[in-house]
């Protein structure tokens, strides 16, 4: 035991390396990574650009734009907006591009299509 995160379930006797090597799983992995990695890099760069500006470009950030509202406040509020926007974007991307293919693979595994020991049910197309 020790790590009982591995529950005795439909996935207990699955050949995960075989699943991992299927084209469809590689496609899922690629779709996931090609979205989350660039997005993570982008929002971190944008956040640190903002922090650096606030830290070292005080005069620029203090420029008044409208009434008492300055560049710093606008950029700060844009951080809120970009956070909300990325959240929405990720959710719609997952719903369209990740969830369907993940559900397909999950159903096949739970339908014992990837079990070890040759008792495979139907044709696994690779």
């Amino acid at each position: 035991m020790g790590n009982d995160a591995h529950t005795p379930d439909a996935a207990a006797s699955v050949d995960f390396e075989q699943v991992q090597s299927t084209e469809r799983f590689q496609e899922l992995r690629k779709r996931h990574r090609s979205f989350v990695f660039p997005m993570a890099v982008a929002f971190l760069l944008w956040y640190f650009a903002y922090v650096l500006l606030a830290d070292y470009a005080v005069d620029f950030m203090s420029t008044k734009v409208w009434g008492n509202i300055n560049v710093g406040l606008i950029l700060g509020l844009l951080q809120f907006i970009s956070t909300f926007a990325i959240t929405g974007w990720y959710v719609s991307y997952s719903n369209r591009r990740l969830d369907p293919i993940a559900a397909e693979i999950r159903n096949e595994i739970e339908g014992h299509e990837f079990d070890k020991g040759g008792n495979r049910v139907s044709g696994v197309t690779k």
């Binding site: 996935a11 995960f16 959240t87």
Partner: protein, 538 residues
């Protein structure tokens, strides 16, 4: 709108003590009934630690917001904006943007591969014992720092809200708060704790919304006029510009970079936040949880922007600094200015509830980590049944509760926001590199995980010990001594890159390879959710 800064009579606050206590008592009574009802179904370990995985994404998202919007963010950020203006606002941006790390890289994958604790995920495909022990130690360390911050906050809050200014009286109130918290966690487990968080989050956000609306109404819903009011009362136009707090010297500028790094990378590595993702039935609900919490937390921080500048304009920095509780009193004083004793009583009760609920969430996380990772997996080598494990968890709750009470009594008066920022730095250094590597880097090994976790945890704590937070300044914990050779008060800028480096180095220097079948299993499970822990059916 000018000259009303003197309208807040701090001495009059003491007259509202009974009202404050009454409203708080009502909150305790109502939540206790709910906790008792919720606890009727607490049978298995999954019930106790993960609320039977029965919460919906929106419920859990609200509870996460409740966990995250601690006294430090509500009182601390409002106060920081009221006193330091724009620099206080930057805190809240870091706290919010950090959620994207949790959303994109951690939440769903973690929900799919773990069971109760962070260590479940980290030790999934690596060697059980060393990784589990390291993860449990860092979980306990982060929870301890965070607990200390909350309990220290309780002390300064009490001095303001209940008019108890002597040390003994404050200690007594800390004991009462701690004892209540132990009861919630013992009886309610994760389910009870989650309901307390949900109720508290709704009250806190509603209270802040009313105050925000009120402040904006005073200024004719014109943000520019509100900012103008803050400048007028403070007599310092720089309150709208960055740099008032962190722009003083080159060291303080670097310190802000360090803080920003710790804030943005720490959130997704806080054990009590990670554990919340196990209270929902699926990864999709975990995603929904984060979406909800980002919405609620973002909204709340927009409120604190208005409340902070509102307090600066309507109460005034001088009055706030002079009040008992200092910076932390900005929000309660603003409530008193706007709505008199009744609104103050409501806001005070919510602030108390905040501390109570956050402390409860931290305690159950620490107890689960000890019982599940150290007791069940290491001490009894997996032979303990779930019933014994939960029994151990309950005993741990009492021990941690007592430690939190003692720590709170001695940390009373320490700067709350600082302590929380340190907890974030420790979490980002000790946990985040290993979480990211084990989810995304196939080659990652046990040695890399152990080096990264101990290296990150150790360097963060050592740098804090030799920083100006502990010694060398009048405001330090040990004001008489000076052994501060590290100039920054936040260690993140050194310890976080170091932990990433150690994780990489430990892996490439490791001659042993990890089990590729386990790696395949973890990757497939994390992305597809196959075999993930299901909701408990009652």
């Amino acid at each position: 709108m000018i000259g009303i800064a003197t309208a807040v009579d701090v001495a009059a606050l003491k007259d509202t003590t009974l009202l404050n206590m009454g409203i708080f008592g009502l909150f305790v009574a109502v939540t206790m009934v709910i906790v008792l009802r919720a606890s009727r179904n607490n049978k298995t370990a999954a019930d106790y630690y993960a609320a039977g995985r029965s919460f919906t994404g929106s419920q859990n998202g609200t509870a996460i917001a409740g966990d995250y919007l601690s006294a430090a963010s509500f009182l601390g950020i409002t106060g920081a904006i009221a006193i330091n203006g724009y620099d206080g606002f930057m805190y809240s941006i870091g706290f919010l943007v950090a959620w994207l790390v949790a959303l994109l890289l951690v939440a769903e994958l973690l929900r799919n591969t773990g069971k109760f604790t962070m260590a479940d995920v980290l030790s999934f495909r690596l060697k059980q014992r060393p990784v589990r022990i390291a993860a449990a130690i860092s979980t306990l360390a982060v929870c301890f720092f965070y607990l200390l911050a909350q309990m220290a906050g309780a002390g300064s809050l009490i001095s303001l809200l209940l008019g108890i200014s002597d040390w003994g009286g404050q200690a007594l109130v800390i004991i009462v708060v701690g004892a209540l918290m132990i009861m919630y966690v013992l009886i309610g487990g994760m389910k009870g704790t989650t309901w307390v968080q949900i109720i508290k989050a709704i009250l806190l956000i509603a209270g802040a919304a009313v105050m925000t609306f009120w402040v904006l109404a005073i200024y004719g819903f014109n943000l520019s006029d509100l900012l103008g009011g803050a400048v007028e009362t403070s007599g310092n136009p720089n309150i709208l510009n960055p740099g008032l707090q962190y722009g003083k010297t080159e060291t303080s500028k670097l310190d802000f970079m360090s803080l920003a790094l710790a804030l943005v990378l720490g959130t997704a590595a806080l054990p009590h936040v990670l554990m919340r993702f196990y209270t929902v039935p699926t990864a999709k609900e975990a995603r929904k949880s984060v979406v909800w919490s980002i919405g609620l937390i973002g909204l709340f921080y927009l409120f604190t922007l208005v409340l902070g500048y509102g307090a600066a304009a309507l109460v005034g920095a001088e009055t706030i600094k002079a009040a008992p509780g200092g910076v932390n009193s900005a929000a309660p004083l603003l409530a008193f200015y706007l709505g008199g004793p009744l609104l103050l009583g409501f806001i005070s009760a919510v602030a108390f509830a905040t501390i109570l609920a956050v402390v409860a969430g931290l305690t159950i996380t620490a107890a689960a980590s000890f019982a599940h990772d150290i007791y069940a997996s290491v001490i009894s080598k997996g032979k303990a049944d779930a019933e014994t494990e939960v029994k151990v968890a309950r005993r741990t709750v009492v021990v941690i509760g007592v430690m939190a009470i003692l720590g709170g009594i001695f940390a009373n008066g320490q700067n709350v926001a600082f302590l929380v920022a340190l907890a974030f730095a420790v979490a980002a250094s000790a946990n985040l590199p290993t979480i990211v590597y084990s989810l995304f880097w196939r080659r990652f090994t046990t040695q890399g995980a152990v080096w990264s976790m101990y290296g990150g945890l150790g360097s963060a704590i050592i740098l804090i010990a030799f920083s100006p937070v502990v010694s060398g300044l009048k405001t330090s914990m040990v004001p008489g001594a000076n052994f501060a050779f590290f100039p920054l008060s936040n260690p993140g800028i050194v310890s976080i890159p170091l932990a990433f480096l150690l994780g990489w180095l430990g892996t490439v220097l490791d001659k042993k390879r990890e089990d590729t079948a386990k790696q395949a299993e973890m990757e497939v499970r994390s992305l597809t959710g196959v075999g993930a822990e299901k909701a408990v059916d009652h």
